[in-house]
């Protein structure tokens, strides 16, 4: 079945450490790829998107993501995590073609310790 997988349900990092959140998708063609962040009690905020072109994309809040076609992955990275980055992170895809619905992964909950 076509899906989006975020294998890490919960990650804890120390403030100032680097971060990588994993995302894999299983679709035949390259979909449109997104990362959203959800802080407690708030909606989903777009961090970054990949449609085509340069496979390393920059987003807001110092985040970046790299699309790797051979691995069907779109991992989110940040070189130095801040305490305010504690939130839940969702990878999502739009398959394209006749559909523009977002298909979400299950999310990764990030905790940041001092």
């Amino acid at each position: 079945a076509q899906s989006v997988t975020q294998p890490d349900i919960h990650i804890t990092v120390s403030e100032g450490a680097s971060l990588e959140l994993r995302c894999n998708y299983s679709y035949g063609a390259t979909p449109y790829l997104f990362w959203y962040v959800q802080s407690p009690g708030q909606g989903l905020q777009l961090l970054l998107k990949y449609f085509s072109g340069d496979t390393l994309v920059q987003g807001i809040k110092g985040f970046e993501a790299e699309f790797k076609r051979s691995q069907s992955s779109f991992n989110l990275r940040k070189p130095s995590v801040h305490w305010s980055d504690a939130a839940e992170y969702f990878c999502a895809v739009v398959r394209g073609g006749a559909t523009n619905k977002l298909i979400f992964g299950t999310g990764t909950l990030l905790a940041v310790q001092p």
Binding site: Y32, G43, K101, I103, F104, T106
Partner: protein
């Protein structure tokens, strides 16, 4: 920065009652969506709406659900006869183009008793 607004933030309703969730999308956006997130589960697509009609709906979006754009600014989701399993966070989203990123509201937490 323009944003999607949703009201109410929390709705408590008795099972079997009708509920209407309201959304004001970003003003120049043309594509509108509803998603829901049951506690502890992933965000799921319900329906997309464009040019005053449903463009796509999921299998969750059965006859108990309907959407409407009653005027130039609001976009509503109605659940005709609520069930316990409708308890979830409901998110409205909008985009200015079919494949451009969808911007989300803060959600309405619906609790069915």
């Amino acid at each position: 920065e323009p944003e999607v607004t949703q009201t109410p933030s929390h709705q408590v309703t008795q099972m079997g009652q009708e509920v209407i969730l309201r959304c004001v999308p970003i003003s120049n956006h043309l594509y509108f969506y509803w998603y829901r997130q049951i506690l502890g589960q992933k965000v799921e697509f319900l329906v997309s709406f464009y040019n005053n009609e449903i463009s796509e709906k999921s299998e969750i979006f059965d006859d108990q659900f309907s959407v409407e754009r009653p005027d130039g600014s609001n976009f509503t989701l109605k659940i005709r006869s609520t069930k316990l399993e409708d308890s979830a966070m409901y998110f409205c989203a909008s985009s200015d183009d079919r494949v451009q990123p969808q911007h989300f509201g803060d959600g309405t937490r619906l609790s069915i008793l």
